[in-house]
């Protein structure tokens, strides 16, 4: 296929009906994403089934729109009611809800969406220019690297502990790993921590736990407020691009983190958000504000998870290996429509990459416009009395958790996770590490053991490979920083009194 025909195929992507379908997909995605329990992955799977008989261009344009919209929609419920609509927006809830409580929900939504648009466009730009270079990076990851990257993610837990001791974060992370290990072992097939209960054989499903853990404490807290309202006053705060651009360094750093995480096969937008958030907090000048309503934290989480969207498609399109769970569903849908991602894609279907980029850019613009239009009316929810909203939220949580697998057992999980969430709140234990542990626990476990199995127990695999060395150094520095060692050394060299003199 010559350049001219590629160009004409790409230009055909701008057909009004295709643009309309992308925008429709984006809107559906935002609705799916904003409802707790309905994940982007599930939305994509259902739409893939419905679009069987459609023309491949129509189907793929809608699916890509839904992918972008789904990740962004999760932020709406995370900010407004503190319940992440999708796992990818769990980090957004940490700062989003406190901002809503201050009456700045509208501004928080706008800032998060501008960050999301920037993050998505950054990921798509990487997809356009760096696909041939970055796709090879995905092939450098073996079980040893997977173990260390997951360990790095979990060690961020200490940074997510607020002003309290890092050990509280690590403890919550360890509990998360334990929960993540329940079910059939990935390597041997042995049942771990299932106690003979068949409901646990496939592991503890993440979404009901997330809904219960974030949702139930929120409902209890909402109903126990004296004035019976989530927010007493909705401030008219003007939002400008400046609100995001003052955190430009965080946005760029999170964008890069999101792109790198997206390239790693099987690791998705949820991990990208947490890693970006954790790094931003560690580097921030105002780490104390994180978790209490920090716009910087919001920018980090949203730019990170959205940058991951484009980069997760890099290994999918160039290697046929999905970078995230939604990308895995997209792979199935593409195959049904006769597009086989992998090394032959550039030969068989050279225009596809550029068409996908056009659809994603349109979806990103649509996502921004839809949210800006919806931000104001949506914040009105916050002024409704809690005695009306909380029962509705509870019903949504229960239906959302149940609808995923149609299992009553999942409702028990919502209840148990809810009680745990309340205990965490009372004990001032950060919730984020637990969630991170559940997501990354299986990867730590299987990556470590599989790497050792491949070398017959020789540990040198973890420190003789270049990416492993970089990851080990990063983990050591992260732990030392969390233990305050760098501050201690700084004080040794320049005691506080001398430092003040020096400043004067």
């Amino acid at each position: 296929m010559g350049t001219e025909s590629i160009l004409s195929e790409v230009l055909s992507s701008f057909a009004p009906e295709l643009i309309g379908l992308v925008l429709l997909g984006t809107f559906i995605g935002m609705i799916v994403g904003s409802l707790p329990g309905l994940t982007t992955t599930m939305g994509l799977a259902l739409l893939a089934g419905i679009t069987y008989k459609m023309d491949s261009h129509y189907a793929i344009s809608m699916l890509l729109g839904l992918y972008v919209g789904g990740v962004s929609g999760g932020a709406l419920s995370a900010i407004l009611i503190g319940i992440p609509g999708t796992p990818a927006s769990a980090a957004t809830a940490l700062d989003g809800l406190p901002l809503s409580m201050k009456g700045e929900g509208g501004k928080a939504i706008t800032v998060s969406q501008i960050s999301a648009v920037m993050g998505t466009l950054f990921g798509v730009a990487c997809m356009l220019f760096l696909t041939p270079v970055l796709s090879n990076l995905s092939l450098k990851f073996t079980s040893a690297e997977f173990f260390l990257i997951a360990l790095f993610g979990i060690m961020i837990s200490g940074s997510l502990s607020g002003q309290d001791l890092p050990i509280k974060g690590w403890m919550a992370g360890a509990l998360g790993i334990t929960v993540g290990m329940v079910g059939a072992d990935e390597l041997s097939g042995h049942q771990c921590l299932t106690f003979g209960n068949a409901n646990l054989f496939g592991g503890i499903p993440f979404v009901p736990v997330m809904i219960g853990f974030f949702g139930i404490p929120q409902v209890i807290e909402g109903l126990s407020t004296s004035n019976n309202k989530i927010v007493t006053e909705i401030k008219k705060v003007k939002t400008s691009l400046k609100d995001v651009f003052q955190h430009w360094a965080t946005a760029i750093r999170s964008g890069v983190s999101g792109v790198v995480i997206g390239l790693i096969p099987g690791v998705g937008e949820d991990v990208a958000a947490w890693v970006s958030y954790g790094i931003a907090k560690r580097i921030s000048k105002n780490p104390d504000k994180y978790g209490k309503g920090s716009y910087e934290g919001l920018v980090a989480a949203e730019a990170g998870n959205h940058a991951c969207i484009g980069s997760a498609l890099i290994p999918l399109l160039s290697l046929g290996i999905p970078g995230s769970p939604p990308a895995a569903i997209l792979l199935g849908a593409l195959l049904i429509h006769g597009i086989r991602p992998g090394p032959m894609l550039v030969i068989d279907n050279p225009a596809f990459l550029y068409q996908a980029i056009v659809y994603m850019c349109v979806a990103t613009v649509g996502m921004g416009v839809f949210t800006l239009l919806l931000a104001k009316p949506l914040t009105k929810i916050l002024s409704i009395s809690a005695c009306y909203t909380m029962p509705i939220i509870t019903a949504l949580c229960v239906i959302g958790a149940w609808s995923l697998n149609i299992q009553v057992f999942d409702l028990y999980l919502v209840f148990i996770a809810g009680v745990l969430g309340i205990l965490f709140k009372v004990g001032n234990i950060p919730p984020a590490p637990l969630i991170l542990g559940i997501i990354l626990g299986p990867m730590v476990n299987s990556g470590f053991r599989r790497a050792l199995q491949s070398t017959h127990g020789d540990l040198s695999i973890f420190y003789t490979r270049p990416i492993c060395i970089i990851l080990i150094i990063s983990i050591v520095l992260l732990v030392l920083a969390q233990l305050g060692l760098f501050g201690f050394i700084k004080n040794m060299i320049m005691p506080p009194a001398k430092a003040e003199e020096g400043n004067q």
Binding site: Y52, S143, L200, F201, Q453
Partner: protein, 336 residues
């Protein structure tokens, strides 16, 4: 008077047509396929395509509902408990669920179900293009010379690919280091990254890499060779390991199942609907996308192959010390 007569005629025609329809239709209520695996996966895709085709024949609404949990056991329990069995609740499954009896995931065995197997992807053994192995014989020779050293990516126990590789080890008298990966895609990544020397995966996943000459096919763990057009004719493992003739076929199976106690006329009607669905464009599309082989098995033939796989899976679980229940106690015969 004329008006009354007209009303009477209309009512009579309506009642007669209802009656006629009732006689003709054995299944007249909407059908629900309870897919044991997540939405968007291989089983889900096949189930949805079958639903499309069966709907055309039966003329009733067919929906697919995903009910994951207990590695397929939750869906099995839901279908099993929905009595009376009238063909309106169907289990969407793959061969993976055959280990449920030994695993403790469900108390029924293959004799309790009737199966409709639509398709299954054949398995290929691949190495990197620059690998020192140029044929399966090279690989076997090396594995024999250095027992336990050859690193193999296969599915997690007790998945089909690992079970088949273990059967090959036994038949060929070799010992390898089997690393379990959750599916063909991670196994593919492992062989491309050099983490393992060889991978046993579905041919659909390997195809783009075989076409791009990034992977080399060594053998098919199937009874017959596979003609991969424009690439190569991949020989059958039986050429190098004749003892595998006794083990194979051990195919991947994707399809549907209903309790064996379902009335005969309902079973016959579902068989007709299944046969019709197997000729539909929807299933053809899915089979092509998965590079699968069309099976269209039902009745005794489907039951026999299911029982064979159940026996292989559960006795291997038992031999590996992973079984919760002894297959002998469940009435599952030992593989011959």
């Amino acid at each position: 008077m004329l008006n009354k007569l007209a009303v009477l005629v209309v009512i009579s025609v309506f009642l007669l047509s209802c009656n006629k329809d009732k006689k003709k239709r054995i299944i007249s209520q909407p059908i629900k396929i309870i897919c044991a695996f997540s939405a968007g996966g291989g089983t889900d895709q096949v189930n949805r395509a079958l639903a499309e085709g069966m709907k055309e024949y039966l003329g009733v609404q067919i929906t697919v509902q995903n009910m994951i949990g207990a590695l397929g056991g939750t869906a099995a329990e839901y279908v099993w408990k929905k009595q009376p069995y009238n063909g309106t609740i169907i289990w969407g499954l793959s061969e993976t669920v055959m280990f449920l009896p030994g695993n403790g995931g469900h108390y029924t065995t293959a004799k309790d179900w009737d199966y409709f197997w639509a398709c299954g992807a054949p398995g290929v053994v691949v190495v990197k293009q620059d690998s020192k192995y140029n044929s399966f014989q090279d690989l076997l020779a090396d594995a024999k010379a250095t027992p336990g050293e050859l690193k193999v990516a296969a599915s997690v126990y007790p998945g089909l690919w690992s079970i088949r590789w273990s059967a090959l080890e036994k038949a060929a008298g070799i010992k390898t280091n089997i690393l379990g990966f959750t599916g063909s895609n991670p196994s593919l990544l492992a062989v491309l990254s050099g983490e393992v020397d060889v991978a046993h995966i579905s041919i659909g996943e390997a195809l783009p890499y075989l076409q791009a000459k990034k992977l080399k096919p060594l053998t098919m763990i199937e009874l017959d060779p596979y003609d991969l057009k424009d690439v190569a004719v991949i020989p059958s493992v039986v050429d190098d390991v004749p003892a595998m003739k006794d083990v194979l076929p051990l195919p991947q199976l994707i399809g549907l199942a209903i309790p064996a106690a379902t009335p005969l006329e309902v079973k016959a009607e579902l068989k007709k609907a299944f046969d019709h669905a197997m000729t539909s464009q929807a299933i053809q599309q899915v089979i092509e996308s998965q590079m699968a082989i069309k099976l269209a098995l039902s009745g005794e033939e489907a039951k026999a192959i299911s029982a064979k796989i159940e026996s292989q899976f559960n006795w291997m679980l038992h031999d590996l010390g992973l079984a919760v229940k002894n297959p002998a106690d469940l009435g599952i015969p030992k593989p011959e």
